[in-house]
Subunit: 397 residues, 2 copies
């Protein structure tokens, strides 16, 4: 069995409070998933990730990128290490994307056929081929709790015809992803080979619970495409639901379109997607966006924004009296913070705000000290997790 | 009062086990001090520094660089923030160097006179002047527990005559450093202004103990120079002892000379320096060196090596059966570690060795992921602290 999804309450807006049980743990939703591209959430230690956020619960699930890990260090190496969980020493839930988005955004010289995509690595120009079956094989080697169907991501803007054709290819690939996954899902290392855990669990305290994973499997989510066309979004959702995935993602958004369009595409997709399964919007967004989508009924989201913004000195904080919205942006390199002895966010209880001043964080940023990126990332991730904790509280009440 | 130094035992080799009490805490010696150049031990969080090492005691004292902090963010800014301790949220003991070494190794277009050194910043070419008095003024603004007399560092190799002249200048500057320090040592923020702590201590749990600092002062150490000439080293030590500092450093070593020469210069200096005061060798060294010098009677050492080597993928670990020495060097980027599922050092209890594999650390290094430098630094610093913990254990017995 892959997952169970228990909804405890649903608000009139459609937002729901639920518990997603997957092999490596239970995730309280709606949830924001920090992105660990190359099996590391950039600049942040795993032991810190386990404790960020208001109540010290830490990140309950993170994401890793199939394309990046396939190229380096290679999925077979990770399979032999026991999967990404063991490779990066992250015993909690994990999700891998399909590699599709990165093949279309990072790789060079792509050649797309019905069969799959030939591309050259952005690292060394070497030639590779991804098909739905190969993406599944790679993701099974990586061994995340949740894996994603292989999809084509259309460029933006794209015509209705182009978007429809791309969507149809995505549907064909989704069916092939599903078929391959069903035939091979018991191959994941932690399900089929319990000895690999019992050996290791004597050495490491982090994997003690894993022995109960035998006979659990990964789950596969389908991805709704359809660009910026409401009719295609609905059609895509319908086709995928017919294939009966364990969860559904909405992909191809936040690629430059106005936010009203993003919201509209999410709304049209949610109308079709089954209410009793987890629904995941990929690659969003700013704090006020994730909050809004969660209230609409989105259960899972991921984005590089909190960590990438942190590395560029952009921090999020709660508004002070007189300020509008729920998330104020501050650029830590501004001169006005040079002698500001307050924490980033006086209302925040993260380890950064409990200890360090804006003046110190500005100094680290200006001096290009690596600790700056780390502390900024910890704060922004905490802010994102706290935002979702607040929304979960509202939805539960 | 600046410090007390209580020796509990002295070995036949001259090595001693002691407790150095300074305003921000007690330091068990012999001690290795991690270097926090720009008010940050590169890539490592302060909360991690507080817990590294075998017994979780963490780093009891760290070093910050006067030259770097003077240029950026500026010593007056740090004074207004309450000193380096508060600026970087490090409530434990701290030592600042005099800036001399960096002026002579990093700054450009130096013009040396009896009065001091004119130089241009390595950051922006701006013109600055450091005299002994100015170094003291800057170090009092920074507010470390221990500060260093301003010295000239002679180039290597240098003739006996050139080295003697440089040494004489260092002695003149030491006397001026001492005079300025005595006249101004009660100006340090945490000694003269208790309100600055009580205000803050309500906000932050880290500085609660600081209120007892009122009426404590910084301490000033003199620096023995004399290049690679035993007679000059002895003469330098004698002159400085006449000036009666609270502790003595041995500077100008580990600048490219063979290790036998380093050892010889330390030995000649130690013969002269008073046995009841702390003795500090600046800028050393490899793990086997710090161990050796500690056994000879050196109480304090600092070096960028553990953190700098870490950023270049060079790790230290205990020898395995059949390997020689007390510290084996391993280059984590080597292909042989690509699938090595062991920790760096199976005998090490640091948070890195308890959780992460060589394979993962190699991946982070090869992928240029910033977490690699952080984890490598934490391990190397732990190894250095553990090395000194072991030596202290031997000296106590």
């Amino acid at each position: 069995m892959g997952l169970t999804f228990e909804i405890s309450s649903t608000a009139p807006t459609g937002g729901r409070r639920a518990a997603l049980r997957i092999p490596h743990g239970t995730v309280q939703t709606p949830v924001f998933m920090p992105v660990g591209t190359a099996a590391t959430v950039k600049t942040v230690q795993q032991e810190t990730l386990e404790h960020i956020g208001q109540n010290g619960a830490g990140a309950e699930i993170i994401l890793a990128n199939t394309y990046h890990l396939y190229l380096r260090p290679g999925h077979e190496l990770i399979r032999r290490a026991g999967g990404v969980h063991r490779f990066m020493a992250w015993p909690r839930p994990l999700l891998t994307d399909s590699g599709g988005f990165q093949v279309f955004s990072l790789a060079k010289l792509r050649k797309i056929s019905d069969d799959g995509v030939e591309f050259r690595s952005h690292l060394d120009g070497s030639k590779h081929f991804f098909s739905p079956e190969h993406s599944m094989e790679v993701q099974i080697a990586l061994g995340a709790d949740i894996m994603m169907a292989f999809d084509e991501c259309v460029e933006t803007p794209a015509t209705w015809e182009r978007t429809r054709d791309s969507m149809s290819l995505t549907h064909a690939w989704a069916a092939r992803s599903r078929a391959y996954f069903e035939a091979h899902k018991d191959e994941v290392r932690w399900s089929s080979d319990s000895s690999c855990h019992s050996e290791r669990s004597e050495e490491s305290p982090h994997f003690g619970a894993l022995q109960s994973l035998t006979d659990r499997t990964q789950s596969l989510f389908g991805i709704v495409q359809g660009g910026m066309y409401p009719d295609l979004r609905r059609e895509s959702a319908e086709r995928l639901v017919e294939m009966d995935f364990e969860g559904y993602a909405i992909g191809g958004l936040a690629v430059g379109e106005p936010r009203e369009v993003t919201r509209e595409m999410i709304a049209r997709s949610l109308e079709i997607l089954p209410k009793d399964k987890p629904r995941y919007v990929m690659g969003v967004g700013y704090p006020d966006e994730i909050e809004e989508y969660a209230r609409m009924g989105v259960d899972m989201m991921d984005c590089v924004l909190p960590t990438r913004a942190a590395r560029h000195g952009l921090l999020f904080r709660a508004p002070e009296p007189g300020e509008e919205g729920t998330a104020v942006r501050m650029n830590v390199k501004r001169l006005e913070y040079a002698e500001d002895q307050r924490p980033i966010d006086p209302a925040c209880t993260c380890l950064v705000c409990r200890r360090y001043t804006r003046a110190y964080l500005r100094h680290l940023f200006v001096a290009k000290e690596p600790l700056g990126a780390t502390l900024n990332s910890i704060h922004n991730l905490s802010f994102y997790l706290d935002t979702m904790e607040r929304v979960r509280g509202e939805l539960a009440g």
